[in-house]
């Protein structure tokens, strides 16, 4: 039975590996697995060329192939007869295929070794259902995660925009966006990582569905799935993480015999058993603001509709974050706290616990009771306000006095001060809850200590 390629698009999500047969100029066949056949349009598909393999050499001699692809939901197989047209080494198709491969390569410590050489484009000569492949008739595909027809796209935009516009702080904006994604799209494992230009890393500033542990997690630009999305400024949707990672690890083992040094594998942030990932770069113009990521245990959780639609939403989210960062960086509208008389330190009403905070200069990190708390700029901010509070008794501070203090090392523009305070606040809540950073109005914050703080430097 003939089928239209666009009617079997689920087969091209890479959930189930496909098989591809070619033959050389003498008619000797070759049959291999490929991790994904890519849908191009109703008459074209593409295969990734990662190594100059026998398949590739056969196509030069005899430019035809047969691919068997499988619907990941019904498990029905389809057979495509293909005619090789060309290899693309740049352009939108190449970039899309390359991003997926780069992300997996980076995640398995194979960056630069395991990479796309070319996108091989084929004309589909025929596409047929493989009759008799399943002993029982395939079950109808469930409605799936697509929300098509259930809610309008305009309503979704309105839903998220409303959350962005109602936010009074960067923190409430981020949590509001993730809440909206859960309410509207039922994405229950999400995170937002913001770009820190000062150290060229992304830091998780909000998460939903992971508990508190996700906040503060960092990833370098270009590292792993999310770092690759940030570097390339391109959306990534992976539908079969397990299979992709097994494939990447197989190559890693095969390459490990060589002399090249391979980097350590980077643990995935979030769900340890995630099967699908959708990671979207947040950009304003060419500037990277961060990455929003969603994960799920269902390998088919995210579809093309989510991809296209969330890209639009991501623009709104990025603009909202950028606007909020600008607003939070505005000078305080009252006199800076530095001019205010220092309040007397309140006497403790009851015996208080003791907290030992140690700043390690070499690592630029603070430990609380020998447990890691925070590092880099947020660590310097905490150390500064703790020192000031100990010396003078002051507990109220302004963003402005922090921004003009060269010892903190904040970038002169777009210093993301508010995001650093959010991170500091969350880390304290998690690791040292009797020491708090509390917002006391736009551009101002206070230090609250319910414990006796012992400070030391090493």
């Amino acid at each position: 039975m003939k089928v239209r390629v666009s009617d079997i698009r689920r087969c091209f999500q890479g959930v189930v590996p496909s098989m591809v047969a070619t033959a050389d100029g003498r008619g000797v066949p070759n049959v291999v697995y490929v991790s994904q056949v890519y849908f191009v349009d109703d008459r074209h598909v593409a295969l990734s060329c990662q190594f100059f393999s026998k398949t590739r050499r056969n196509l030069d001699e005899n430019p035809v192939a047969c691919a068997e692809v499988m619907d990941p939901i019904t498990l029905q197989a389809y057979r495509l007869k293909l005619k090789f047209l060309r290899s693309e080494r740049s352009g939108p198709l190449f970039d899309t295929m390359s991003l997926r491969i780069d992300a997996i390569a980076s995640h398995t410590g194979m960056a630069g070794v395991f990479k796309l050489i070319a996108a091989d484009v084929f004309e589909v000569l025929s596409a047929d259902l493989v009759e008799g492949y399943l002993m029982d008739a395939p079950v109808d595909a469930p409605a799936g995660a697509s929300l098509d027809g259930l809610r309008t796209e305009v309503r979704g935009l309105q839903w998220v925009s409303d959350r962005i516009n109602r936010a009074t702080s960067l923190e409430s904006l981020l949590s509001g966006v993730l809440e909206a994604l859960e309410e509207y799209f039922t994405f229950s494992h999400t995170s937002v990582l913001l770009h820190d230009e000062a150290n060229h890393r992304l830091t998780t500033l909000a998460s939903r569905g992971y508990g508190r542990s996700g906040i503060g997690a960092e990833v370098g630009i270009g590292e792993g799935l999310i770092g690759t999305v940030a570097r390339e400024r391109r959306l990534l949707r992976l539908s079969s993480l397990d299979a992709d990672l097994r494939y990447g690890r197989a190559i890693r083992r095969a390459a490990a015999d060589g002399s090249r040094m391979l980097q350590e594998e980077i643990p995935l942030p979030g769900l340890p058993d995630a099967q699908s990932v959708l990671a979207i770069p947040l950009t304003v113009g060419d500037r990277l603001i961060g990455v929003i990521a969603a994960e799920d245990r269902d390998p088919m959780r995210f579809n093309e509709w989510h991809e296209a639609y969330l890209e639009v939403l991501a623009n709104q989210i990025a603009l909202g974050i950028d606007r909020m960062i600008e607003r939070c960086d505005e000078p305080a509208d009252t006199s800076p706290a530095i001019d205010a008389p220092a309040p007397l330190p309140a006497k403790p009403a009851a015996p208080r616990s003791r907290r030992r905070l140690t700043y390690y200069k070499h690592d630029d990190a603070i430990f609380v009771d020998d447990e890691y708390l925070i590092r880099n700029i947020p660590a310097r901010i905490l150390w500064k306000v703790l020192g000031e509070s100990t010396r003078t008794g002051r507990t109220e501070f302004s963003n402005r006095e922090m921004r003009i203090d060269p010892s903190l090392g904040l970038p002169p523009v777009k210093d993301n001060f508010e995001s650093r305070l959010i991170l500091l606040r969350h880390r304290l809540q998690e690791k040292c809850p009797d020491l708090q950073i509390v917002s006391t109005g736009r551009g101002r914050f206070a230090l609250r200590a319910d414990a006796v703080i012992e400070m030391s430097e090493r």
Partner: protein, 152 residues
């Protein structure tokens, strides 16, 4: 080929792919269910479901050329055999338990990586054709820079 590699190529739980080409060089492929050997992989017999292998059997009848790739789904360890068919026949009833056992083992392996057993067991597997080929060449097929290299 090393003895340990031989053993891995014959273990239960393998994925089996079969490639052929017609007289004009147009390739075809289908899923196999099992492979066996009686002479330490000098010849192998691959079992393909009758329901899905019409084109494969037609091609074997015309060109006799067959490629068979066996893969361990959990780690992608894979080997490809190429050779000429010496026999293609309907599998005998006494071979059915072996074919069924290999399908069950494959279902067990896939179940461990997230594909439910009932799904794999729903794949057509019997009646089957048994295609025996004389192995001329063996190739490394594990993904990576060595994929496609001949194995001595």
């Amino acid at each position: 080929m090393s003895q340990s590699r031989n053993q891995r190529c014959l273990e239960p739980g393998l994925s089996v792919l079969v490639g052929t080409a017609d007289a004009a060089g147009m390739p075809s492929c289908c899923r196999g269910i099992a492979i066996s050997t009686a002479d330490d992989l000098q010849t192998i017999t691959v079992y393909v479901p009758v329901a899905t292998s019409h084109e494969t059997i037609q091609n074997v009848g015309v060109t006799r050329r067959v490629a068979v790739t066996v893969t361990h789904p959990r780690d992608n360890f894979a080997t490809q055999f190429k050779g000429s068919a010496v026999e293609a026949r309907l599998a005998r009833e006494d071979e059915a338990p072996f074919v069924r056992a290999r399908l069950d083992a494959f279902a067990d392996v896939l179940d461990r990586i997230g594909v439910p057993r009932r799904v794999t067991r729903g794949m057509a597997h019997w009646p089957a054709f048994a295609v025996t080929l004389r192995v001329d060449q063996t190739f490394e097929q594990t993904p990576g820079p060595n994929a496609g290299r001949p194995i001595a």
